[in-house]
């Protein structure tokens, strides 16, 4: 009988383990196997703790099993929640730092252009685009103007519009994730951060795309 039970339990838990789709995380399989294992243990307890097992033993074993299940469940779910939360916080922090890098670079560059533009007085000889090109002579549509202050930097700031009245800089990051996973950025992986800074003669407008 012991081998029948063991075999049945192995089949039940193994099936539950392989049932969820294979993902990067093992949690779905592990959780499904855990639930199947719990069902198996409850069934096993019901089978084992019948006559002639004394009532006193039934109560003791039942209480100990209950405490064990609660402790293991708390440890298991605690580990699941904590590690998933830590992973999310790690990635959110990365996104916040990347957005900070973008806002400390792109709008300041554009305002520097605006300062020169308005310094011309009311009769302006140079348009916004021309003033911008004076500052960034190499810039063309689609070129990256971000210069890294640290060694490796996956941030890019692209010139995406360059006209007499509007200059748009689009800031992207190679992999830092944004708000929407389906978002297709100007550059970088799907779902990554994208911020746009739009310069007109009235100032700089910030639009957070993702």
């Amino acid at each position: 009988m012991i081998f029948r039970w063991m075999f049945g339990g192995i089949i039940l838990v193994s099936l539950a383990f392989i049932l969820p789709d294979r993902t990067v995380e093992v949690w779905p399989s592990l959780n499904a196997a855990g639930v199947a294992a719990l069902i198996y243990i409850i069934a096993l307890l019901v089978y084992i703790l019948r006559n002639p097992v004394p009532v006193k033993h039934r109560i003791i074993v039942g209480v100990l099993a209950f405490i064990s299940v609660i402790a293991l469940g708390a440890h298991w779910t605690g580990m699941l929640n904590t590690t998933q939360w830590q992973q999310k916080r790690l990635l959110d922090s990365k996104s916040l730092v990347v957005r900070g890098t973008m806002i400390s670079d792109a709008p300041i560059r554009l305002l520097s252009v605006l300062e020169e533009y308005h310094a011309q007085g009311k009769m302006k000889k140079l348009s916004l685009a021309m003033t911008f090109l004076q500052n960034c002579p190499q810039a063309t549509i689609g070129s990256n103007i971000h210069t890294s202050s640290v060694g490796e930097d996956s941030t890019r700031i692209f010139v995406t519009t360059l006209s007499d009245s509007v200059v748009v800089l689009t800031a992207s990051h190679a992999y830092a994730r944004g708000r929407t996973a389906d978002f297709i950025p100007y550059w970088g992986r799907k779902g990554t951060i994208q911020e746009r800074y739009i310069l007109t003669e009235k100032g700089v407008r910030h639009e957070s795309d993702n």
Binding site: I10, I48, A71, A74, Q87, L91, V204
Partner: protein, 258 residues
């Protein structure tokens, strides 16, 4: 004559039992050695077979590892067959094989006791009970204090991470304040600017008070001093000197944010 025969038979039975007992003890010792070896090498990041009494801890370690990989731009790979088999075997060992051995051992003892048989302390049901109990109850016993400690650690971790996030969010918003200051200074008066000066700049309602902090600004000739007081942690403050070009010259953090 009869007495001699009975005595010889009893001795033979005892010898048979003790041999079986020794074999079982050897099997048990070998089993424990194998288990100890695998439990000792139970970290699953490297692609090798592992056995763990608490496989969810290993899987949690993998989740953190994936987070670190994504943080540095790598795409985590699907778990290997070895990792999956290791997790499954660990679960089967702790939640199927050991409980079955333990509870059947328990029942066999109860049935034997009820039938009034002569019982020996060391018998198969005892080995079942001990072996199954060690593997099954070990993680359960460890889990009780660990679950309590984990709860406390998790709570303090949440607090420190939330403080850090609040600080980062305030730094980001201070950047927005710096941008608005610079913009105000470069715009001519007819476009609502300060025409080369910070004089007359006021923070808009959206910038002065956010869900993260409240901001105050002190204007000087060629620079401005912005002070942020955290809404979530009122003891957390950041004071920043902002140049006329919108660059940060100096930061000062209160003790909470240092």
């Amino acid at each position: 004559m009869n007495q001699t025969t009975e005595s010889q038979a009893t001795t033979a039975t005892k010898v048979g039992r003790s041999e079986t007992m020794i074999i079982w003890l050897i099997i048990l010792a070998c089993g424990m050695l194998v288990l100890t070896f695998f439990f000792h090498h139970n970290y699953a990041i490297e692609d090798r077979l592992f056995l763990s009494p608490v496989p969810w801890v290993n899987v949690g370690g993998m989740t953190i590892d994936h987070g670190v990989q994504m943080f540095s731009g790598k795409i985590p790979e699907l778990p290997t067959i070895t990792t999956q088999v290791s997790c499954l075997v660990s679960i089967l060992l702790v939640f199927v094989i050991s409980p079955t051995l333990f509870f059947f051992g328990l029942r066999t003892r109860a049935v034997d006791r009820a039938s009034g048989k002569e019982l020996h302390i060391l018998r198969w049901s005892t080995i079942q009970l001990v072996l199954g109990g060690m593997v099954m109850l070990g993680p359960a016993l460890v889990s009780i204090p660990v679950a309590i400690i984990q709860r406390n650690v998790s709570s303090s971790l949440h607090k420190s991470v939330e403080e850090y996030e609040n600080k980062e969010a305030i730094l980001y918003e201070l950047n927005s304040v710096a941008v608005k200051l610079y913009e105000y200074r470069v715009l001519p008066k007819e476009l609502g600017g300060g025409n080369g000066s910070f004089a007359g700049f006021t923070l808009s309602k959206e910038l002065a008070s956010t869900t993260e902090a409240q901001y105050k600004i002190e204007l000087q000739d060629t620079l401005a001093i912005a002070k942020a007081t955290s809404v979530k942690y009122p003891l957390g403050t950041i004071t920043a000197k902002i140049s006329k070009k919108g660059k940060f010259l100096e930061w000062k953090y209160s003790e909470l944010f240092e």
